[in-house]
Structures are given as C-alpha cells and as structure tokens.
Symmetry: C2
Subunit: 212 residues, 2 copies
Amino acid sequence: MNVAVLASGSGTNLQALIDSAARGELGPARLAAVGVNVPDCRAFARAQAAGIATFVVDHRQYAVRDEFDRALVAAMEPHEIDLVVLAGFMRLLGPSFLGRYGGRVINIHPALLPAFPGVHAQRQAAAYGVKLSGCTVHFVEAGVDSGPVIAQAAVPVRDDDDEASLAARILVEEHRLLPSVVRALAEGRVTADGRRVRVIESWPSGESLRTM
Amino acid sequence: MNVAVLASGSGTNLQALIDSAARGELGPARLAAVGVNVPDCRAFARAQAAGIATFVVDHRQYAVRDEFDRALVAAMEPHEIDLVVLAGFMRLLGPSFLGRYGGRVINIHPALLPAFPGVHAQRQAAAYGVKLSGCTVHFVEAGVDSGPVIAQAAVPVRDDDDEASLAARILVEEHRLLPSVVRALAEGRVTADGRRVRVIESWPSGESLRTM
C-alpha cells in the first residue's frame, strides 16, 4: 500500500510514521511520497532526510482552491497512492481531490472530536476547561473534521496546563495512534458501516480514564 | 454541607450518592433532601427507603417555567441547602432557581462535554461513531450543559455497542465520579478561575486511554 503524507509544518507526525516504518511497524504500508504546501517547512526536510520522494504544491500560487486541489492530485499521480495521510496539513481539500482519493484520506486532529474541531483545538480545549482531551484519526469528508472516526486517544488536562503543555501531551498520543491506524488500514483491518468504523484486533478496551 | 439531589427517573446516581454516604465517603456532605418532578419515579422511592426528606414539584402543574422554578426554590428552602446536585433531572432550570442557587448547582451528563450536549447523549455518541465517550460533572449555568467542567471520566466505545450498552458502561463511571465531586466540593477542594476549575488532590494524571 503506497502512502502519501501531506504536511504543512514541523512534521512530527510524519516523523512518527518514518520511525515506525524504520522499525517495521507499518506492516505493508510504504511511505511513497510526502507533499507539502509550504516549501521550506520542516516536514519537507524530514522526508528528504528519510529518502522519501517529495513534492511541493505551494497554495499561494493558486488563486482558486480547486486549482490547488488539481495540482495536488497531479503531483500525487506518479506515486500510485492508495492512502493519503493528512499530518498537520493546514489546507482544506475540495471535491477535485476528494473525488479522486475520497474514502482513502485520513486526518489526525488534536482533540476528541466532535469536540473542538477546526484550528487551535488545544487552545479551545484549554479555554473550555475540559478535564480530558486527546486526538482523533478520522476519514476525511467534505466537512471540517467531521468524517467517520477511526481511532481516538485521551489524555488528562492538568490544572496548570496551557495550550503548549496540553498540545505536547496530546502529541505523544498522536505519534502512537497515527502509525497504528496506518498499519491497520494497510492490513485491511478497517471496515466501515456508515459512520461506525470497526478496526479488527482493536486495543483492549477495558480501561477507563477519570480525572478531576 | 446540606445537599439536595434533584432527579426525574430511575435515580441510580442518587443511589450511588446514598451508598457513598452510607460508607462515609461523602466527607462532610449530608444528603438533606431529594426532590423529584415525577411523583412516582424510582428515585423518589430510593430516597424514602434511605430515610431522606423528599419533596415533589410536579412540572405539569405549572404552565410557566418560572413558576416551576419558584416552587422548587420554595420546596428547598426549609432544608437549608448548600449544594444542589442534578442527577438525571430532566428539567431546565431558569433564572429564579439559578439566581438563588447559582454557582452551587452541579449536573452529571453522560458524555464528554462539549461533545453531545442535550438529551440522548449516549445515542448521539453511538450514532457519531466516536471511539471514546464518558461523563462530565459540571457547574450549571443558563446554557444547556455548557457550564464549567469539574470532572470527566472516559470509557471506550466498543464495536458492538448500541445506545444501551454504552449507557451502561458510562453509568459505572458516573456512579464513581459524582460522589467524588460532591465530596471534593463539601471539603472545599474545588476552586474556579473562570471556566478553569481546579480540584485539589486530583487523581493521578499520568494515564491515557487509547482505543481504535
């Protein structure tokens, strides 16, 4: 299974995938290409350092979003991509992209969706005062962070947390959750019935997490 | 600290409080009165069986919500209530009630707020397809399930869950969380800074819960 990772920034989730692949923990998933929309972002450098094919589609060069989408599709075509992973990719994808890759695009979001969709999810969570937050891997549909949920992980929000400390704690879980989902998808262990997504051989589910 | 519990239905959270009190686990909190708006509900019988003072304010006898609120306040006055616990109380409370007891009213909601507010939270969660849900104890303000969060507990949503099985799993956590919050409030261990609520001697917070 050829995987493309799209990123915009520091690329720590990309790095988690690279490291998982190096440890042989992505199963049949192969990191075939990394695309970025910010030419000099850290994610681009990480991909190059790992010897993964890269492409840049700079959104600032496209006046219309659909043109950006089409350019992204064109850049991906040579890599025969089976799964697209959005890992800190800060652009919304429209019909031209989702029409081509729909159902095979996943995103990781730093909140327990449907709580705190959109940007600055960790800031939203800290401001709301929740006691638990976390991250969500979900299929991407046309809405913002509203597609079917594949996996979630929770972390406590501590009394002295600010946006940065909460984001760091959530990121630890992101780096665990995303590779495990990519592997499950590559191994054909993910099935969907409407919005209910089932992952075969799921994690033991007897745990609970309580925080005051 | 005199606690009034308001309930409408089966009263299992009320029972959890009664059982905690019997085990001496509510600290200085005393279950002083139980009020119901449904005369023959199971919660009423549980309170009577436990020897707790009861009152009924039947919402169907009041054409205007504010009259219901005033009747509720009048029924509570003799019990010198310091804390009001909504435990499956299915009526919204308005200014006449919150003006009297505002800041000292808590509610338990069967979801990880701000996800799935309002009625049928477990059904909403099952339909959305989240992998984690849980319960929230929060201060009651004028909005629906939007007040500052005091405590939350998470449980996994399993592949074969329906509304009932998920509700049952969440209920186990509700029965643990609510008494612990009542005790913390009674012991003066809860402070609030805007929406950020701090509970002194909080639970160990190193845990995480991941589910796919």
